[in-house]
Amino acid sequence: MPNVRYAQFGGQEAFSATVAIVVPVYKHSVLLTEAIDTALCQEAPFNIAVIVVDDGCPYPETAEVGKAYALAHENVFYLRKSNGGLSSARNYGIEFALRSFQDLEAVYFLDADNRITPSAIRVLFEYLRANKGVDWIYPNIDKFGIEWNGNYTAQYSRLLHVTFDNICEAGSLVSRSLLDAGIRFDESMKSGFEDWDFWLQAISKGFKGTNFPFFGFEYRQRAESMLRDSNRTRESILGYMKDKHKRLFATDTLLQWEHEETPRFAAIGADTYLVDLFTDPVIAHETRGFEEFVKMFWAAMAEPETFGVPPFWLWMSTTHRDALKNLGLLHNVLWLGERLSESHHFVAVRFESDRDTLAIEIETHGEGRELSKKPLGWMSSLSMLQQCVEDKSDDWVRSLKGPNPAPKIAEIVIRGPFSADEMQGTALSSTNILLATLGALRESGYKSEPDKRWIWRSAYFPNRSKYHELLRRAVGAAPIMPRLSKPDGPLRVGLLLPIATFGGVEKVAYATARVLKNAGCEVHVFVFGKPTYNRIPDNDGVFDSINFLADDYPLWGGPNMFSGHDILMGHDEAARAEEVIGFLSGLDVVVNNQLAPANAIFGELRRRGVKIVNYVHVLDSSEMGRPAGHPYLSLAYEHIYDAVLTCSRDMAEWLHGMGVPMAKLLHIPNAPGYPMPDKQIQAVAELRRQERRSNLKAVFLGRLDRQKGIERILSAARELKRRNVPVDWRVVGSDVMDEGAGGSWKERFAEVGIQVEQPIYDSRRLSKLLAWADVFVLPSRWEGAPLSILEAQRLGCVPIATNVGAVSELIQDRVDGVLLRSEDDGVVTHDLIAALADLATSRDRLRTMSDQAMNRASTRSWEKSLQPFLRQLRNWFPDRFQSVRRTRARISQSHIQGVSFGAANSEREDQLQHPERQTSIR
């Protein structure tokens, strides 16, 4: 036998490991030894495998070092692969570890030029095991070479991680569960930030990380590194990640994280001394005791990058908060409070009782202006409060108690149907609570000297009390409406209105709201102009919220011109893109109801996944007869609409002819503007049948202005009176001073013995008026498809209207109404006189037309008209919009395809009634 010491091969017991340290290496041949040695120095009561992955390094020394360690140490493995980049090398190591070690519980990524301390893996792994909700542990950044120590100890925040920077170094300990979920480094990312993407994948699958403050990770920083290269190409890489992880970057997601991690508002209960911390006040949130909150404040002051406190504070009793919540105004008030807190020292909140309106008024006080009544609540920003706390004297802030406060104050006055309880203050006023809060902060034992830092590592993170600014920057909106979406909750539809009074546009919007609500949507109303909503009982319970922009927002105009119309673009300052996008935050669908300037920001909303719907009603006319108005704006912004709703086929044809694709057009035939039970309609019909011969009763409802052809009515009334035709008139509407007409219409009607009555907004009184009248006159110069015609027809009141706009779609001449030729004033007046004279003398004809009018109106309902829109919503959101009532298709599929915008049902009705007419759209 030769003198050879034989080795033992293939031992029976295979090596296994609880933790694997994956060391990717490329061109760090010498530094690699340091990394492996620190891995081998680990002191742990479990096996640790060291997996060196040579990513096709061209230096032979790398292989020599790797092989030497692998041969010398049972737990070192050297793997060689073709060059594929850092991601591919780490993934290679992960796969090897997962298939080779059955006991594997965690993997640590140690780049070949970095190091860890001997206790690191043991301590981290124990921490991972002991904290079930933790899936990865990341370090502070302790750099050597170019020495720097970065403090990353703030509580882990997904909001920060997604919107600020990659706060988790790749050198983290990762639990096996995360790898078993298929999370790997993106091998297409070769310019850096692959670790950031890795964590984003983890977040999107619900995993959570945490920092361990005494990690023992040492990062070698030299003058140049891949990370620095990646910072040069940061924007393009970030663009790739945003596209890849769309859901993580969505406003809804970020807002949810803000609520959970760094709530934007602290509401200090004036009655409870508890502090609610939330972004959305109606979603479950954390509540802290007051002392705990004071401690939180001082922690944030001492270490602002690590600890935070909400940036906006509210002092208000829960009763008052609940009152705002019940009216659907709470989010809006918080949003306004946030906006105003940034330009005022304090924001006062006061209620005024008003049964007929919901409204918000904003007034500025202080600095000389008196605060007339005591506020029920206060808001302010953290920066203001910090200054107050640091101020040695509290004289300035104590003046809030008096009528002439020294601070600059914005007052939000909320008008609404508040109960007596809700109007009452609390035993301890909100002003006193505010001052008590400041006193408690100022006198707290936790108060620390300014700039006395306890955490020795350098600050890197932004101020934790200002994460709302990160959120604002990330979504390009400020302030952001603090309204969260419920996961898989109902579809959220926002109806945008310039004003919320009793106009036809609002009525259509409200009718749409009722149908959407019945279909299971959340319906939010956004009023951009005068911040008042005239309450309509039919709408009670329909809106989930009412939101007033309450700013000096232009409702028309802009510095750019399109086809004779002044328009705004998104980048124009007047568009207030950030403010409006923030105001409309949290919606799935926006329905624009003739709000011109908002068009400027719809493109941005659409890019964020919001569906944009434009509702077009009427082609207006300029003073000199030029067609103008919202249909033209629709052409200017057509490319940003997902759908365009039109009240008439006529309008749909016009839009299509002007270039709007057919697929975007949805014809929603108008129906009566307010609901009415069949029983009441039948009762009116019965009354009409029993009615004895009397004077013809004629009514006009609407603005007394040029559009409505009011002077034509006056002429007709005067002429009929001269001819002694027996007509009883009622003219109901607001008197618009018309310079061209030479004074007040009220006075001029009085000259012919007709009293002009105040406008009627109450639907009950409106029905009563229409039930009284035999005919409804509307000799307008231009119209869309007036709801008033349908409302009149529903009660058997025969419409006599100019044949303009889509009026002919509502009236079949001499069958269920009378169409006046749309020519000059003389012709219209002549036709109107003739029609009234005819019906005044021919009661049978009147009765027949009345019956026909009722028949026609009975076929119209918003539920039916809006079916195409509901179907469209279901197509857009198949998972979230299941409750749409399916209506039986009455026409063939090919027909539907041909007129995809044209509501199938109404087309058929019109076809039945107008067999001779062909639509130009087919």
Binding site: A14, E43, F46, D55, F77, K295, I455, W456
Partner: protein, 509 residues
């Protein structure tokens, strides 16, 4: 019978053999029949036969014909032994190795009838080349080490020169890096009294680099001057003891007491924790001052055993930087570190056994005792383990691999948590296995190398015993910790709620 291996079935068997190819020097054979390879060669190194490539995996077989697959290239194929029929097979192997990023192919050695000597000569040539290159690397490394030693000497000399200059001119740059002043509070809580026997700990708010002393403010001295206090400064990122102090209560003065480091801390910046422990006594302890309320929990003064805050305050403290021991403020009481008398390699580390490990405790001697309840019960909230003694004999619990290498002392606190219990004996052992532990508990022999035994201590309800098991010689291995209880007088073990808490290990190096 032909077995067609699917990818799934292959993956089951591949791991162990794959790993063996990643750990051993291997001779790969292509084409040569098994009986042609001399058994002496097969004994000398690992020999595998290359069978081809399937689904991108290489298929090898062992001498006994057992086939296995591998995804990874063998770490060190010393050569490929090939005959005329194996040429094509060898090419396939090289192609596959290339696909795995292997840049340099192993040498090919021809094997044929009567060519054994030639092949062995070639193999020896390969090994000779390897030895030559190894020798070159060793020579290079020695040269690099010499250069580093020389650089280190140079640095030492330069530093010493600067040090001497600073001393001569009294220029020691001693700075107050941080001060948390004591608050005047007549209700000053007695922080040392509220702590467990492990004492208190305070995370310090400055980085380790350049720190030369930690000053603690004493509000009121202890009545007894001979109480023993032990202080330690620890770096938390690597759990190393920077310095240790052992002083008596008489050495403390009212006011600031500076615990001076043996040398100012250098190297990478780490987080420091200051620990202070007083030997257990019923006497009045020194009253330490505290600073204002601390809103950041990490910096509140804590119980060293549990890590939980004792107060909402930090200790009143000062942190000094610079070269220590030369020009501290005259008004300060300077206490030198113990490690000034020790060599630099004689540092000790005090490591608490993590609560997570306590959860892995189990009954070790179930062959001897049995209970109808959990006799060994982890109590994480108390950082303790319950160990219920039997009527006769002993209950032995184990903490697997809980004792770090180079153990000096394993300690724990023991007590009884039920006033109706009779007296109980407690003991701790560090050993490799249960048999060794039993022998020590039964006191059949003395502890061997790497073992530690505390001896038995009797505890009465209301008392607390601190038990320590000292290791004679250190070993570089993780060991099991065994702990045992028995009734002092055999018989009634009702309510015998015996508990071990706060296991800690002091290790050297």
């Amino acid at each position: 019978m032909t077995v067609v291996a699917t990818r799934e079935s292959l993956s089951l068997q591949k791991s162990a053999q794959e790993i063996s190819l990643l750990k051993d020097v291997t001779l790969i054979v292509a084409g040569v029949a098994r009986h042609e390879i001399p058994s002496t060669l097969k004994d000398a190194l690992k020999v595998v036969w290359f069978e081809g490539v399937e689904d991108d995996y290489a298929v090898f077989s062992e001498e006994n014909n057992a086939r296995f697959v591998t995804a990874e290239a063998p770490i060190m194929p010393v050569a490929v032994l090939v005959n005329s029929t194996g040429t094509e097979s060898k090419d396939t192997l090289f192609k596959w190795l290339q696909s795995r990023g292997v840049a340099q192919h192993p040498p090919v050695i021809a094997w044929g009838q009567g060519a054994g000597i030639d092949a062995v000569s070639s193999l020896i040539g390969v090994f000779a080349d390897t030895m030559r290159s190894g020798a070159r690397r060793q020579a290079l490394s020695s040269n690099e080490l010499r250069t580093l030693r020389s650089l280190n000497d140079d640095l030492q000399n330069r530093f010493a020169a600067i040090e001497a200059y600073l001393n001569r001119h009294g220029l020691q740059p001693l700075d107050l890096l941080f001060s948390n002043d004591p608050i005047e509070n007549p209700l000053n809580p007695h922080v040392l009294s509220s702590a467990s026997s492990e004492g208190i700990s305070q995370v310090l708010p400055v980085a380790s680099s350049g720190v030369s002393g930690i000053a603690v403010h004493v509000e009121q001295k202890a009545v007894r001057p001979d109480l023993k206090l032990r202080a330690q400064l620890i770096t938390l990122e690597d759990l190393r003891i920077v310095d240790t102090w052992q002083v008596t209560s008489g050495e403390l003065v009212s006011g600031w007491n500076i615990f001076g480091l043996s040398r100012s801390t250098a190297g990478l910046r780490r987080t420091l924790e200051f620990r202070l422990q007083v030997e257990e006594t019923d006497e009045e302890l020194p009253l330490l001052s505290v600073g204002g309320l601390q809103p950041i929990e990490m910096f509140q003064v804590r119980d060293a055993a549990s890590g939980m805050p004792l107060l909402k305050n930090s200790l009143a403290l000062q942190i000094w930087g610079g070269i220590p021991g030369v020009s501290m403020p005259a008004w300060a009481n300077y206490l030198p570190a113990l490690s000034q008398q020790l060599g630099p390699e004689e540092g000790l580390r005090d490591i608490p056994i993590a609560p997570g490990i306590l959860e892995h405790t189990s009954l070790a001697n179930s062959d001897e005792v049995s209970f109808d309840f959990e006799a060994i019960m982890p109590l994480p909230s108390e950082h303790a383990i319950g160990c219920h003694p039997p009527v006769e004999g002993m209950t032995i619990g184990q903490l697997p691999a809980a004792c770090p290498p180079r153990l000096v002392r394993m300690s724990a606190k023991t007590y009884i948590d039920n006033n109706r219990a009779a007296d109980i004996d407690f003991a701790i052992v560090v050993a490799e296995d249960l048999d060794a532990a039993k022998a020590l508990f039964r006191e059949e022999r003395e502890p061997a190398v790497g073992e530690a035994y505390s001896g038995w201590t009797t505890v009465t309800f209301g008392d607390t015993a601190h038990m320590s098991a000292f290791a004679g010689e250190q070993v570089n291995l993780w060991r099991n910790v065994y702990f045992a209880t028995r009734m002092t007088e055999s018989g009634n073990n009702d309510f015998a709620w015996a508990k071990f808490a706060n296991f800690r290990a002091v290790v050297s190096g």
